[in-house]
Amino acid sequence: MAGNEPILRAVGISKSFPGVKALHDVNFTLCAGEVHCLMGENGAGKSTLIKVLTGVEKIDHGEIYLEGKSILPKTPLEAQAFGISTVYQEINLCPNLSVAENMFIGREPVSGCVINWKEINKRAQAALSKLNVKIDVTQSLDTYSVAIQQMVAIARALDVSSKILILDEPTSSLDRDEIDKLFEVLRRLKEDGIGIIFITHFLDQVYEISDRITVLRNGELVGEYETSELPKVQLIAKMIGKEFDVLTSFNKGNAASAKGCEEDSLCNDAAFIKAAGLGRQGGISPFDLSVRKGEVLGFAGLLGSGRTETARVLFGVDKADKGELYIKNKRSAVASPMNAIKNGMAFCPEDRKREGIMGDLTVKENIIIALQAKRGMGRCISAKEREKLADKFIELLSIKTSGPDQLVKNLSGGNQQKVILARWLATDPELLILDEPTRGIDVGTKTEIQKLVVRLAEEEMAVIFISSELDEELRTCDRIAVFRDRQKIAEISGEDLNQNCIMQTIAGGQKHA
């Protein structure tokens, strides 16, 4: 499939951080006109390789050749000048600038000696509409959802791109439609002879788009393969370093959902939490909802359909202005997260950079902090107990860290997510709300987390599971609430719990989903 001449060649790359050898003698070759997937578990060193290639991090050893010439970009600016444009993991744009400006900053069209704003807005609009995104580009970026921000970042990179395009987990918060659109564009670029490096944890996407695959494990190169010659199961085996059978290892199916999801959820006495007409002006239209102990309730819907809003209202991050909330059949006003936590809830938020991690605190402190908050300020968790908790969860979730005293900001994206999960599990909640908990998490751990969710439910925990991946939801949930346009439109359970039915519901039975 591929096999044009190599456009980018990295030889013997090594990079260490204090306490971690992130890359060790890694070789990597990218050809013109191919999509090259970089695969590996969380913390395998994928993002580090990208950062080293683009001058974000200084290289310890090794050489980089672009079209045969040795280069050594020292800053992303230089990398850009060499014709390498990059979308880094997590969205790296400026929330305070307008969408259009985010796309053109650093290379604004200038007429005379003033920036030509008209031109910028026009071109931004055009570039976004290629990706089927139609928004007001003069609004500041932070008024839009994570997904749209990600689309903007991609649009920017596409627009900059000249020789090489690097995308580090660009699809983690996109839904199917957008991914299709993105792939369409990538294929077009490929035909133009641009080399594309693509990182993702979605195996299906790997097989859909890529020509070749390079696998990293623990900072070392495992090998480079033609996608067509590497079956999925083998790819996973290479990533985790042992044989692994994803598809058979775990499938909850609909077996558990026989637990009486047929009952009317509102008059369910065993409900841990019950919302009646709860709503928030401008956030989510009033909805009824109940979750029983030992049940996993999924939220499905398109981007911006109101899933996160619902979770936030339940957890008291945003105050509901309508309706009532019952916890264990007692009416209670959840007015703040603290309140919610005291009532046995836990909420793993979707935007981990902003709402989740405390970068300058250690892994240990990040893990125990919610428990500490729940206990109150006065009852301090002893040093010994902290140590024990941290070790337990580092082990349980196999968090890759050089120790419990490592600063969280130095962990890889996926491991940060695990730390936040650990934080909430440590509080031993009765209701766990997970908003996109598996975003940016590798297959192995993803399955582990799904298993964990099911196990927690078996241990009588109530779980609300929000995910953009339908099959993940299908696999774990007993019931799925479907959202559209900031409204809960349906609840699906039992027989109907299948891909088709949900898609239909989301689409409202009209157009295609």
């Binding site: 600016l77 305070n96 600038l97 200038v110 008024t143 920017r156």
Partner: protein, 333 residues
């Protein structure tokens, strides 16, 4: 100012302008003499240096930094120019150019310390504050009177507008700086990079913006503005004194913040800072026109008005935010 975007981002600015107008109207209703054009122009004449400082400060705040040294650079410039013109007999224009250079170097050094040695802006510029004042005192602890003819001519020159109204050269300089700053902030790559850095420094770096250069230049710009303000101040006071401009850094910061600039960086308007400075001027003016306040009541009333202003602004902005959340629900995809 930026034409294509009269969006929700400009609401805090609009609120400031509105509150300014309200204050002015209140003054006019209470004291008839308030409603003269010259009172309005006096605001520019009397606050020219503050306007210039606030403009420089706006850029620094926009990149998420802070510059506490501006007041003492102003003082140092006043003192040094008085010394050079009076005691050393240097050519006044050469002195002015030299002062701008000194300001630039001052800012450049501070910026470099902050950027290349990763020192905290607050501390570096606090040291800059101490240094400037100490250096001024070191030149002379006594007041140096500026008797130089050029300086005096410039100081007394009146730019006549219609009627009897006039503004000073200082005010003209302030207005020129204002226009230039608006241009730099909104229509140059440098200005936009500054905003991007304030929004998210590591993102700006990853987007390939010249972060280090921009940051150092912003501090340099602030140094230049302080020096210009110092020159304007030396026209205004016609003397150098080591206690000139004490606490003015806080006035400048307050002006910028009242004008809608966030100390967290990324958000700020040059024109807002103008209104911030004018607002403080008008508060002072109101108190002077009243003319019955006790010394300590003067302080308390200034603070109270400032407080009311800031709280009203804050509440209005908060309300706007929640309203935006309510009204702005458009599905994108």
């Amino acid at each position: 100012m930026k034409k294509p975007q009269l969006s929700s981002k400009h609401v805090p600015l609009a609120i400031t302008v509105l509150l300014f107008v309200v204050l002015f109207t209140a003054g006019a209703v209470k004291y008839p003499a308030f409603l003269s054009m010259q009172v309005f122009f006096n605001l520019f004449i009397d606050n020219a240096y503050l306007i210039i400082l606030a403009i420089g400060m706006t850029f620094v705040l926009v990149i998420g930094g802070i510059d506490l040294s501006v007041g003492s650079v102003l003082c140092l410039v006043c003192m040094a120019s008085a010394h050079l013109v009076e005691n050393k007999g240097m050519n006044p224009y050469a002195v002015m150019v030299l002062m701008v250079l000194i300001g630039a170097v001052y800012g450049l050094i501070q910026g470099s310390l902050i950027q290349f040695f990763k020192m905290q802006p607050f501390i570096v510029t606090l040291a800059g504050l101490f240094f400037g004042r100490g250096a001024a005192a070191w030149i002379s602890i006594e007041t140096i009177n500026i008797t130089n003819k050029t300086y005096n001519d410039i100081a007394h020159y009146r730019v006549h507008l219609w009627g009897d109204n006039f503004i000073s050269i200082g005010a003209v300089i302030a207005l020129v700086v204002l226009v230039l700053a608006i241009y730099i902030a909104h229509y140059t790559k440098f200005g936009r990079s500054a905003y991007a850095i304030g929004g998210n420094e590591s993102s700006a770096m990853l987007m390939g913006l010249p972060v280090a250069r921009t940051k150092v230049l912003v501090y340099t710009l602030s140094g230049v503005c302080s020096a210009l303000a110092g020159i304007v101040f030396s026209f205004y006071m016609l003397s150098g004194y080591s206690l000139h401009g004490q606490g003015m850094e806080l006035d400048a910061i307050a002006s910028a913040v009242i004008g809608g600039t966030l100390l967290t960086g990324g958000v700020g308007y040059v024109i807002g800072s103008l209104f911030g400075a004018l607002t403080q001027g008008i508060i002072q003016n109101l108190i002077m026109f009243d003319g019955t306040l006790n010394s300590w009541w003067t302080k308390i009333v200034i603070a109270a008005l400032l407080c009311v202003f800031i709280i009203i602004q804050r509440l209005l902005v908060a309300r706007r935010d929640s309203q935006k959340a309510k009204g702005n629900v458009k599905t994108a995809l």
